[in-house]
Subunit: 219 residues, 2 copies
């Protein structure tokens, strides 16, 4: 939410692309070689014009009354998202959340290759989690030199977040995927994508209350 | 992103409240009894007017040239979010992600009380994860009767998501916190908050590419 660099495309559109992509792959598996915005829109309860706008950021445009070739649309989305290539990553913090990410096959499918995890826990160091080797955090700087690591995934406790981010900056990552609640102090040119689970919980819990409170009641 | 019921307040504003709240508690601990929108705005690189608007959804209004009483502002935010009371929850799927959520102390602080976790793995059933007992999924329906469970947290594999959601609906939860990539078929009146990790990864990965692709190149 407090993203730190310029965005060229609407974030909500980008966020919807993976959902469309999953649907398109299902359609392809069923042998549907053509797909229209209307079909996609109906599946997701969206307006057709919104779907068209979302898809247009990938550079593709459908043919009137025909739609898109499913294959081409899948390629366009994957190309736009960078999911048609390998993205090398380090994961820092091999706790429950880190392990969950290491075990999520979906990310592998999207090209994410977590080549190493780092932790300070001697019990974890030297072992593997979901086939990813866990190293001593002190090895990260050395291992990250010229290793082509594009992103760092931060799943450390809050107190360790900034220090881990500093090392990631030093090894030259392009982006940090920040699962901690900490707002990192990093150079502007580094992309920071924050996963705010508390923000998500806030949206849910604020709508739960049995007797809704309206601002008027306070004024 | 495809939320299923009407929203009364801007989602981005709600999402920013937990961040402000953390800052306000820090300020209170430092003995700062008054706080202004400008101070909050400076901390987060936001516009002051945006902060004021965000805070206004809680029903509070600051005094010109004085600001807010820190304590009152904290109370207003916690009240709005429903974080000043206990919210009982079931968690379904005690894998890595489920364990991470069970172990996250922050949610406890926000009033979330996960009273039971459910799984189908005999190794997990009968044990506890972060002091939360794990039960057989088949017990959920019975245990959920008249138990005042307000939300269900879905951390199951995709294939099990809809079935687990069906049971949650049957036991009368108000909301589902869905960590699976599945779009659930549930009654409209049930609040569904989706944590889309793939959407977050899409935002990051789409901005990573070394040679940015502009729509023009495709046209």
């Amino acid at each position: 939410m407090f993203t730190q660099s310029a965005k060229s495309f609407p974030i909500p559109s980008i966020q919807r692309l993976p959902v469309y992509l999953r649907f398109l792959k299902e359609q392809r598996n069923r042998g549907n070689t053509l797909i229209s915005c209307t079909q996609i829109a109906e599946e997701f309860g969206q307006l057709s014009v919104q779907v068209r706008k979302d898809l247009s950021i990938t550079g593709i445009s459908g043919r009137p009354k025909v739609g898109y070739r499913t294959n081409e649309l899948i390629d366009a989305i994957e190309g736009f998202l960078g999911w048609n290539r390998e993205i090398k990553a380090f994961l820092i913090g091999a706790g429950s959340l880190g392990s969950a990410i290491l075990g999520y096959a979906g990310f592998v499918e999207h090209g994410l290759r977590i080549v190493a995890a780092f932790d300070i826990d001697p019990v974890k160091i030297g072992n593997s989690i979901h086939r990813c080797p866990v190293f001593d955090l002190r090895q990260m700087y050395g291992m990250g030199q010229n290793a082509g690591i594009e992103i760092g995934i931060l799943t450390v406790p809050s107190v360790a977040a900034q220090e881990a981010a500093n090392i990631l900056v030093q090894i030259g990552v392009q982006g940090i995927w920040n699962y901690t609640p900490i707002r990192l102090d990093i150079p502007q040119e580094i992309i920071c994508e924050e996963v705010k689970l508390s923000a998500s919980f806030a949206v849910l819990s604020s709508r739960l209350k049995k007797s809704p409170v309206f601002p008027d009641e306070y004024v």
